[in-house]
Amino acid sequence: MTSAKDSPAGQKGQPSQTESESPQLTGIRILDFSHILAGPFCTRLLADLGAEVLKVETDTRPERMGATRIDPASKRRQDRPPSFLNINRNKRSITINLKTEGGRALATQLATKADIVVENFSAEVMKRLGLAYEHLQPLNPRLIYVSMSGFGHNGPRKDWTSMNMSLQAYTGLMMVTGAEGDLPTAISNSWNDYIGGLHACHAVLQALAERERTGTGRNLDLAQFECSVATIAPLVIASAFNGEVPPRQGSRSTHAAPQGCYQCAGKDDWCAISVENDGQWKALVSRMGSPAWANEGRFSSLAGRIRHHDELDRNLEAWTRQFTPLEIENRLKPAGIACERMRRMNEIVGAPDAGNVYRWMEDPPSRTLATGLPFEFSTSTVAPLSPAPRVGEHTKAALEEWLGLSAAKIAELAATGALE
C-alpha cells in the first residue's frame, strides 16, 4: 500500500485510479476515554479513516460490553466479548488508573499531545477528573474535545442517565414506528448509539478541517438525545404547527401502493413489496395470475390503491401466504417489481448477493467478522483491519511515542499504581 510520501502530490488533475494515498487521518492522534458503544463506534470510524486511537482503560474494571459468557472450549479469542472485538478493532489500549493523582496527571499530559479527545461519560465526570475542556484547552489550544453525553452538559435534564432503549422511547422513535394503535415499537439493536456516533464523527471531521484554517480546536458538547431527535425533526416541526401528531404509517408510503410487509409460508417469514407505479401494479396482477379482485377499477390507480390499502393488503397477503419469501422474490423481481424477502443474518453473512461490508479479519487465535466502511474513495485508502487490543497492550509503546518516557520512568509510574 503506498503511503502519502510515495504518491505524486502536487500533480495537475485528479490522480489516476491506480495511484493511492494514505488515509485522510494519518498522523491524527485520538485519546479515547469513551466506553460501551456510541463513543467507541465513532472512534472506530475515525480509526478506519487512519487516525491513531488510544483507548484509555483500566485493569481495575475492564470493559465487558455485554454479558456474553466466556466459553473455555471455544477456539475464539477469549479476553474480550465478541462485540468488543468488533467495535474496538483498529485501536490501541493504555491502562491508566484515573482514580489516582498520578493517573490523572498522566492523562492530562497525553491530552496535550492529542489532536482529539473523545468521552461519553455523564455531564460532570470529566470535570471531576480535571480532564474537561476547560482544563485541557489552555494546555493544548488545538485540541478538539468531543463529549457524547446523553443529554448534553447543560439544561434541566443534563444529569439524566440514558441508555439505548430509553432514548428510543424518549426521542419518539417508538411512537413513530408501527401502525396506528400499535404498542410502542422498537428495534432490537443499540440504534441511538450508531446515530450518535455518526454525528460525532462528522463533527470531528468538520472540526479538523476548520482547525487547518484557524489553528484552534473546539469543544463539541454533543447530546445523543439531540442526535436522535434530529432524525425525526420533520415530524416535530409538523406536529408543532398542526397541533397534532401525524398518523403512524406502519410500513406504508404515500408514493407507493401496495407497500408493506406481507406474511409468507412458514412460521415467521415475510417479504417486503413496494409497487411504485401503475405499470408495476399491472405486472404484479399478472404475476398473481390475474385474480378477479385485483382487476377491479378501484385498484387501477395509485390513489385508489392508497384509499383501499387495507383491502388490498388482505388480498395480497392471502396470495403471499402460499409461497416462501424466496419464491415471492423469484416471481416478482424478474417482472420489475421491487420485492425483497426479510433477511436474517444467516442470509446475509456469507451470501454472495449481500453488500460485502462484513469482512473477515485475523484475530488470533482465530478470526473475527468485522464491519468495514460503506463507502470507497477513488484515491484515499482506509486503514487495514486490525484486531482489538488486549487490555493495556500499548501502555509502554504509547508512553514512549507520545511522551518520550524512558523505561525507567514508566516503571516508576507503574509502581505508583497509575498504570493499572
Binding site: 441508555m163 410502542p184 431527535v229 404547527f241 407507493a256
Partner: protein
C-alpha cells in the same frame, strides 16, 4: 466555509443538511418543477404545498435553491460552471452526468456519489437484516418510521464527504467517493451480525422488552408508558430492587448476574409491569432518574416540540415563514446546536436563481432566455 452543490435524493439529503449546520454554503440544484423531497408529507397546514412539506422545511433549511434542467445544454453547462466554483458535489446517482465528468470539471472537487443499490426504502430495509429486528415478537415487522433510516444513511454520506474535504485540504486535490446505501444499512445491523458470527444466534424482534439488556422495556403506568433501561454494571440490580421491593425477585440471588437475568427476562419483566401499573409515568421517571436509572417518557413528536431540555439547550428556534403565515419551529439540529448555527428557512423553488446566475456571470437578459428555454 466551503461551497457544496447538492443533488441528493432522500437517502443522501441529511448529509447536505448537516453541511449547512456546520456553516457551509449549500446550493441545492433542483429540476424546474422542484425536487422529490418537497413532495413528502406531512405538510404544514395539511394540504400538499411544495413550500410547506415538513421534510423539505427541515432537510433544505439554510440552503440556496437553483433550478436547472440537467438533461441538456445549457442547463448542463451552467451546472458545470457552478461546479467549477464549488468545493464539493454530493448527489444520488445516476445523474445525467457521470461522477467522472463532474470531477473533470474541477480537479479540487470532492465528488460524493450515493448509490441507492438496494431499492426503495422498505425493500432496502428488508434486505439489510434491519427489518428482521424491528417490531414485536411474532407480529408483523415494521420499517422505522419518519424515514429515520434515510437520516442514518445521510449521516454516512456526511462522514464520507467530510473525510474527502479534510483530505483535500492536506493533499491539495479532490477525489470521488462512492457510498453504497445497501452497505450503510448492513453496517447498522452489525450487532445482529456479531451475535450470528460469534455465537450462531439469530437476533429476534423483541418489541421494546429486553432487546439488549434484560431489564429494559416500556412499562405501562396508570396514565401511559414509561421506559426503563437498567444498566448491567454490578450492584445496579440490588439498588433497583431497593426501589421495587419485589419479594419474589429479591429472593432469587442468581438474578444479580446479568447473564441469568437474560435467561429469565420475561418472568422478571412481567412482575415489573404489575408493579409499574400502580403509578403515573411522570412520577416513575422522576424517581428513576433520582436513583440514576435511565427512565424516560415514551414520547410522541408533539411532546418533543415542547421538551424542556431541548429548549434549554437552544435546540429550537422559531422562524417567520411567509408561505406558512405564522412562525414555524426551526430546529438547529444536533450539530447546529453545538456550533450555534441559526438556519434560514428552506428556500422556495429557484429562489436563488437570479443571485447565483449573476455570481456565475450571466446577465438578466441571458437569465430570462434560460428561463424561457426551460433550462432553468
Amino acid at each position: 466555509m466551503v461551497r457544496i452543490v447538492d443533488l441528493t435524493a432522500h437517502s443522501g439529503i441529511y448529509a447536505s443538511r448537516l453541511m449547512v449546520e456546520s456553516g457551509h454554503d449549500v446550493i441545492r440544484v433542483e429540476p424546474p418543477q422542484g425536487d422529490a423531497v418537497r413532495r413528502l408529507g406531512p405538510y404544514l397546514g395539511g394540504t400538499p404545498n411544495l413550500e410547506l412539506g415538513a421534510f423539505h422545511l427541515f432537510l433544505n433549511a439554510g440552503k440556496r435553491s437553483l433550478t436547472l434542467n440537467l438533461d441538456a445544454s445549457p442547463g448542463r453547462d451552467i451546472f458545470l460552471a457552478l461546479v467549477k466554483t464549488a468545493d464539493a458535489v454530493v448527489a444520488n446517482v445516476p445523474l445525467p452526468l457521470t461522477l467522472e465528468e463532474i470531477a473533470q470539471a474541477n480537479e479540487k472537487l470532492a465528488v460524493v456519489g450515493v448509490e441507492d443499490d438496494a431499492g426503495p426504502e422498505l425493500c432496502a430495509y428488508a434486505r439489510s437484516g434491519l427489518l428482521a429486528i424491528t417490531g414485536h415478537p411474532g407480529k408483523r415487522p415494521a420499517l422505522l418510521g419518519g424515514h429515520i433510516v434515510y437520516a442514518a444513511t445521510g449521516l454516512y454520506v456526511a462522514v464520507a464527504m467530510s473525510a474527502a474535504l479534510y483530505g483535500r485540504q492536506r493533499s491539495g486535490h479532490g477525489q470521488i467517493v462512492k457510498v453504497s446505501i445497501r452497505q450503510c444499512l448492513e453496517t447498522l445491523a452489525e450487532q445482529s451480525m456479531i451475535a450470528y458470527a460469534a455465537e450462531g444466534k439469530i437476533t429476534q424482534r423483541r418489541g421494546y422488552r429486553g432487546a439488549i439488556t434484560a431489564v429494559s422495556g416500556a412499562f405501562p403506568t396508570s396514565d401511559g408508558y414509561w421506559m426503563a433501561s437498567m444498566p448491567t454494571t454490578p450492584g445496579r440490580w440490588a439498588e433497583f430492587m431497593k426501589w421495587v421491593q419485589d419479594p419474589v425477585l429479591m429472593a432469587d440471588k442468581s438474578l444479580e448476574d446479568e447473564a441469568e437475568r437474560l435467561v429469565k427476562r420475561d418472568f422478571i419483566l412481567d412482575r415489573l409491569e404489575a408493579w409499574s401499573r400502580q403509578f403515573p409515568k411522570e412520577q416513575m421517571v422522576e424517581e428513576a432518574q433520582r436513583r440514576h436509572i435511565p427512565g424516560t417518557p415514551v414520547a410522541v413528536p408533539l411532546d418533543l416540540a415542547q421538551d424542556p431540555q431541548l429548549w434549554a439547550r437552544g435546540f429550537f428556534e422559531e422562524k417567520e415563514h411567509e408561505e406558512a403565515g405564522r412562525p414555524v419551529l426551526s430546529p438547529r439540529g444536533a450539530i447546529g446546536v453545538v456550533l450555534g448555527t441559526s438556519l434560514r428557512p428552506a428556500p422556495k423553488r429557484g429562489q436563488h436563481n437570479a443571485e447565483i446566475l449573476r455570481e456565475l456571470g450571466f446577465s438578466e437578459v441571458e437569465h430570462r432566455a434560460l428561463v424561457e428555454s426551460g433550462a432553468v
